[in-house]
């Protein structure tokens, strides 16, 4: 049970923080279509957060809710991937991150639809529909911007180099993951690596981008609560009202 709770927080916190970063673009996108798309992705991710953290709260059964989990934990208790908490950067960073994450997210959700937990399977099935579209869109943009102008290619390549060291964390299991795998709730993330690498390699090739060389030292720790310096600022902003007006209803 504690492992299940932890694992659900990893899912929900990751979608929550990525949704936050995505929503920062609101009104500042490079094209109207992009404003709409980013808001839409953020909306989907917040929806997933409500489901994952809602289930986490149920599983924990100590009176917390998706909202109290989202708004009343400090950074050390957050379990999101480091990748999603990095600043939004320019649109190249935003899109490249979305792609690197979507390729993993899509595969993972696909596997989770066969989870031994019917609740997990149900959430995964709902989310998968939206994430299928996210991946289509982010892959497509990676290709178009990579194989666009010199300037757009350079930005996309820079974004890739910046983010690459943070992708390793998506494929490293710990005791929590192993307990969850043994219970048949989720596959081991290591098993996703080969397919992810294939997808990413193929799209980057089409985008005329170069896969970063060597095995970058994987930045990790988000899933056990060791974050970057950025998360604290995200939470200070996100949680302000709940912290400043405890117990108020909105």
């Amino acid at each position: 049970k504690p492992a299940f709770f932890d694992w659900l927080c990893r899912m929900g916190d990751t979608t929550l923080i990525l949704g936050h970063r995505t929503s920062e673009w609101c009104g500042h996108g490079p094209a109207l279509e992009e404003d709409i798309a980013q808001a839409n992705i953020a909306l989907d991710l917040i929806g997933h957060t409500q489901m994952w953290l809602g289930l986490a709260a149920e599983v924990e059964d100590e009176g917390r809710t998706a909202d109290t989990l989202a708004y009343l934990r400090d950074a050390m208790k957050f379990r999101n991937l480091l990748l999603v908490e990095l600043p939004k950067g320019d649109m190249a960073v935003t899109i490249m991150r979305q792609f690197l994450f979507d390729a993993w997210h899509h595969d993972y959700l696909g596997k989770l639809t066969g989870s031994s937990s019917p609740r997990v399977a149900e959430i995964a099935a709902k989310a998968l529909k939206e994430v299928t579209y996210h991946l289509e869109r982010s892959s497509d943009l990676v290709v178009r911007l990579g194989d666009g102008t010199d300037a757009s290619r350079r930005r996309m390549q820079d974004a890739l180099e910046l983010l690459w060291p943070y992708t390793g964390e998506m494929f490293v299991s710990d005791e929590v993951d192993r307990a969850i795998a043994e219970a048949g709730i989720a596959p081991l993330v290591e098993d996703l690596h080969a397919d992810w690498t294939e997808t990413v390699t193929e799209i980057l090739k089409e985008a005329t981008l170069e896969l970063p060389s060597g095995t970058a030292y994987a930045q990790k720790g988000g899933r056990t609560g060791r974050h970057t310096e950025h998360l604290g600022f995200v939470l200070a902003e996100m949680q302000f009202l709940q912290r400043a007006y405890p117990g108020a209803s909105w």
Partner: protein, 315 residues
């Protein structure tokens, strides 16, 4: 001219004017100005609400606000498309916005300072917008009319969501109630200003009314807004910040204080609290997005060439 008379007859008969059809140059220009300004307002209007998305107090409120801001961008899209049928491109309209040649609704030059403002904007600002827009569903230009029909449906939904936030706040803790009252205090007069200057000072009005580009006078709509909104404020237990507000049993109208028109013209001139920042935000988004748009264009051209080459090879 005879052509102009025939055109006016069609309008008087309630016919819709469609893109390819003949229209007076003034009609076209007025429409472009009005639709462009409306489109720009949707786009700039993302900013004051976007300001609170990362700080929305619950996941549900965050989702609702995201969906709303997304709708606004969508409305912008409808309106730019409708304006494009008049022979102006979206990029030309953007440039007119960025250079200050075209305006957007002045209401978005006021800051959103507390979460209650998300309520007040939905309730009062969308409320006033709807008051303006509902009659425009019957406007004479076909694409504009159809855009307004789609938009009005969503706007009234937004207004209800805004009012729901106000209800929560007004019935909440003393601090929340204070925020709600403060939001009403700050947005009341700017909302009244949204209908434009008093009829006696309003330019462009008469011809626009004849063309059915404008359907009601500013003062008519303002009165209607006050009549609908005051009881809503009372229901919330909030006080409209107007000592002169009185109800006339005979006419069913409230009489109310005029907004400070000097402030209105200052804001129009660019001296409102957020003019500089709102416009700068849009300019920055545009210029920082140039590489992005250029990249997509370059790719589209390359792909077209590749397809052409492939087609040639296949022959």
């Amino acid at each position: 001219t005879a052509q102009e008379r025939a055109f006016q007859d069609r309008i008087d008969a309630g016919e819709k004017i469609e893109p390819k059809e003949w229209m007076p140059e003034g009609y076209r220009k007025t429409l472009i100005r009005q639709m462009g300004q409306h489109a720009h307002s949707e786009i700039v209007g993302q900013l004051p609400e976007g300001n609170w998305i990362t700080r929305a107090p619950t996941l549900e409120r965050k989702a609702i606000l995201l969906a709303k801001v997304q709708d606004e961008a969508g409305h912008g899209l409808y309106l730019y498309s409708a304006a494009e049928t008049l022979g102006v491109t979206r990029d030309e309209l953007f440039e007119a916005l960025h250079s200050g040649k075209m305006k957007y609704s002045s209401i978005f030059n006021y800051p959103t300072l507390t979460w209650a403002d998300m309520g007040a904007v939905g309730w009062l600002v969308d409320g006033a917008a709807i008051m303006n827009q509902v009659p425009l569903q019957r406007t004479s230009y076909g694409p504009y009319s159809r855009a307004m029909i789609r938009i009005c449906k969503e706007e009234s939904f937004h207004q209800r969501q805004g009012y729901a936030i106000m209800m929560k706040m007004a019935a909440g803790t003393p601090e929340q109630k204070e925020m709600a009252q403060d939001a009403l205090n700050r947005f009341w007069y700017p909302a009244l200003m949204m209908f434009g200057p008093s009829d006696k000072d309003s330019v462009h009005s008469e011809q626009s009314m004849a063309w059915k580009i404008k359907m009601n006078t500013n003062d008519e709509l303002r009165q209607k807004f006050v009549n609908e909104t005051v009881p809503q404020a009372e229901l919330l237990g909030l006080t409209v910040p107007d000592e002169n507000l009185t109800y006339d049993e005979q006419t069913g109208d409230y009489s109310f204080s005029e907004p400070d028109w000097a402030e209105f013209f200052e804001v129009i001139k660019g001296n409102g609290p957020c003019n500089r920042e709102r416009l700068q935000a849009r300019r920055d988004a545009w210029s920082e997005g140039e590489w992005f748009r250029d990249g997509l264009t370059a790719y589209a051209e390359k792909s077209a060439k590749r397809r052409a080459a492939a087609a040639l090879a296949a022959e």
